[in-house]
Point group: C2
Chain length 354, copies 2
């Protein structure tokens, strides 16, 4: 049990969190697809433990630093889903990790595959997964070229686990299901490309929270959603979750009514500054459905309400961040509660960008 | 001396930092105006020490938590430039701070002034400064109403130091000088309002980095710029500084050429996600003037170059964040160097939102 802090601070409803963890775990299990949740969303060992207890095969992370934190907390199966360019320092850290956990790293370009092979081939037990682009157009080689990077890695002495993609174009209203189809098409083509290079892929890995229900379970063997554990205003506005599924909010205090608006003490340093093209503002207030965060600075959120009186100065309200991964990465701890009490969980991998 | 980390990480050019600190300190001294830099920008005790050594009268901070960190590091004069709504916990923390440092807090609404007086009037040696709106339309009461909040605070036993404003509408191309004029007009009206309530203001406090050179030095008695120590892409694009004045960059590695663009390993978790309406992208690359960060996700920056070859995969480049306050608040430490070597400075007040 812990005393309540002054605002702003991040609160987690543990019942909702547990329900979200369980729902996706049960669904992937029913479809005999492995779940490897992306832990960049929560960066919190206790939440990783809930996911693994519910049946996740391991974790996905974005950086070596995140992998180190989770390995230190006992996680034994980690995928760094990022096309790392390693130097001697990074290679040594990956070698240490591989000695403690089953470790895989994304490769994408032929240059990246060669570089990883140069540093780690025959040295450390690191598997590679070839990242392909399925329509987000961020990173990932073209699916039919996946075999080239795979072959380079294999020749350098790295084992190739399979192929992966992040169908991030699912982050657009109505495109979740189409992104799931694109994901399957790209992964199937990438797998064929690996086979053409004489490499049999064991894993076809996809997943994002908005595309999850559109995943082609006859094609993917593994899914890597992250945000589903908490939900956020983006997922709410994309229709991926309802407000009742949102496990994390920022508790804030009304500090002013200047300009006829609510001014809250939770700004971009608490909520994050992300705002997608489809977002209706910089955050939502579940208790005030018409409320929109119409302006955000570092320590102020300006909230416009429609047809309802302003909560008084001094009142506390809950704000759902647009993008929960960004909000969590700003906080050193989460205030986690259910009916039995409240506890503080350290965001142990916060800020581990490298 | 410290070994170089893997990317991404924040680097500070100590020579440029010292020059920025000195330039503004010399200029305010020449005009006999007090300088109280906003430390939310750097959150770093060593940088506060440079500012105080150059003649700053004290620091401005945004939160009680920031004030506590700087007080612990020996800063003895602190203004919390935020209209706090205090409860018993916050009041106790302010009382502890006031016992160690000269402390002032912003008040704005009459409700906020009454609440602060209820908790601290006659109890702790906390001064108040009445915040007024000079055109940003975020917080601040109307200048001619400043006397009302001042009188309530005074009647509750709090000493009133004066009036303040943040002319944040300076963050728009070409509006810096006009914002400086608005600031002076608002502060003069607010001072008159206090006098009407029988309270003589000792301080008329303004300042933002883009309005700095437009400040009416015959009116303001104190300025509170923050970003000037580092500069950033926003200041560069507003014309407040040139690229040669930028002291902080994010060192990043090229991890891909997907889509014919540079993909860097510094995303929104390293650079911050701020993007003003006038920004040309999510960050700038000083060594590549045509480069624009055209897309940003948590661990990827997509950079478009015009009429120049892409630096190779594996190359390191420096990125100037749009908004340096946001970038610094994501990092646990800064890598600070000059010709004599490199050191690590802890961002000691990082994440102290409350």
């Amino acid at each position: 049990m812990a005393a309540t802090p002054i605002t702003p601070y991040l609160r987690v409803d543990l019942d909702v969190l547990r329900r979200n963890v369980r729902r996706v775990a049960d669904w992937t299990r029913a479809h005999q697809v492995a779940l490897r949740p992306h832990a960049k969303t929560h960066k919190t060992p206790q939440i990783a433990a809930l996911q693994l207890a519910a049946g996740a095969v391991g974790l996905t992370v974005a950086t070596i630093g995140e992998a180190e934190v989770f390995a230190r907390h006992g996680v034994t199966d980690l995928l760094i889903a990022y096309p790392l360019w390693v130097d001697a320092t990074a290679a040594a850290r990956l070698g240490d990790l591989a000695a403690r956990a089953t470790l895989a790293v994304a490769v994408e370009s032929t240059e990246g595959a060669a570089n990883l092979g140069r540093h780690l081939g025959g040295v450390a037990d690191v598997e590679v997964v070839v990242e392909v682009d399925s329509g987000q157009h961020r990173t990932g080689c073209r699916p039919h070229e996946a075999g080239r990077s795979a072959a380079i890695a294999a020749r350098a002495g790295l084992r190739v686990r399979g192929v992966m993609t992040f169908p991030g174009h699912s982050y657009s209203p109505g495109l979740g299901a189409a992104a799931g189809q694109d994901e399957a098409t790209a992964l199937a083509a990438a797998a064929a490309s690996l086979r053409g290079a004489g490499i049999e892929p064991r894993v076809l890995s996809g997943g994002s929270t908005p595309s999850l229900r559109g995943s082609r379970m006859d094609t993917v063997t593994e899914l890597r959603p992250g945000v589903y554990v908490f939900g956020d205003a983006q997922q709410w506005e994309l229709g991926t979750c309802g407000p009742e599924d949102i496990a994390l909010t920022c508790r804030a205090t009304v500090v002013s009514h200047a300009g006829g608006r609510l001014v809250l003490d939770a700004g971009s340093k608490a909520l994050g500054a992300d705002r997608a093209a489809y977002s209706s503002g910089w955050g939502r207030l579940p208790a005030h459905p018409t409320a929109r965060v119409v302006s955000l600075s570092e320590h102020h959120a300006l909230v416009q309400l429609r047809d309802e009186p302003l909560p008084p100065i001094g009142a506390q309200v809950d704000v759902v961040p647009n993008h929960v991964c960004a909000a969590v990465n700003l906080a050193d701890e989460l205030w986690v509660g259910d009916r039995t009490g409240t506890d503080r969980w350290a965001v142990a991998a916060r800020g581990r960008n490298a």
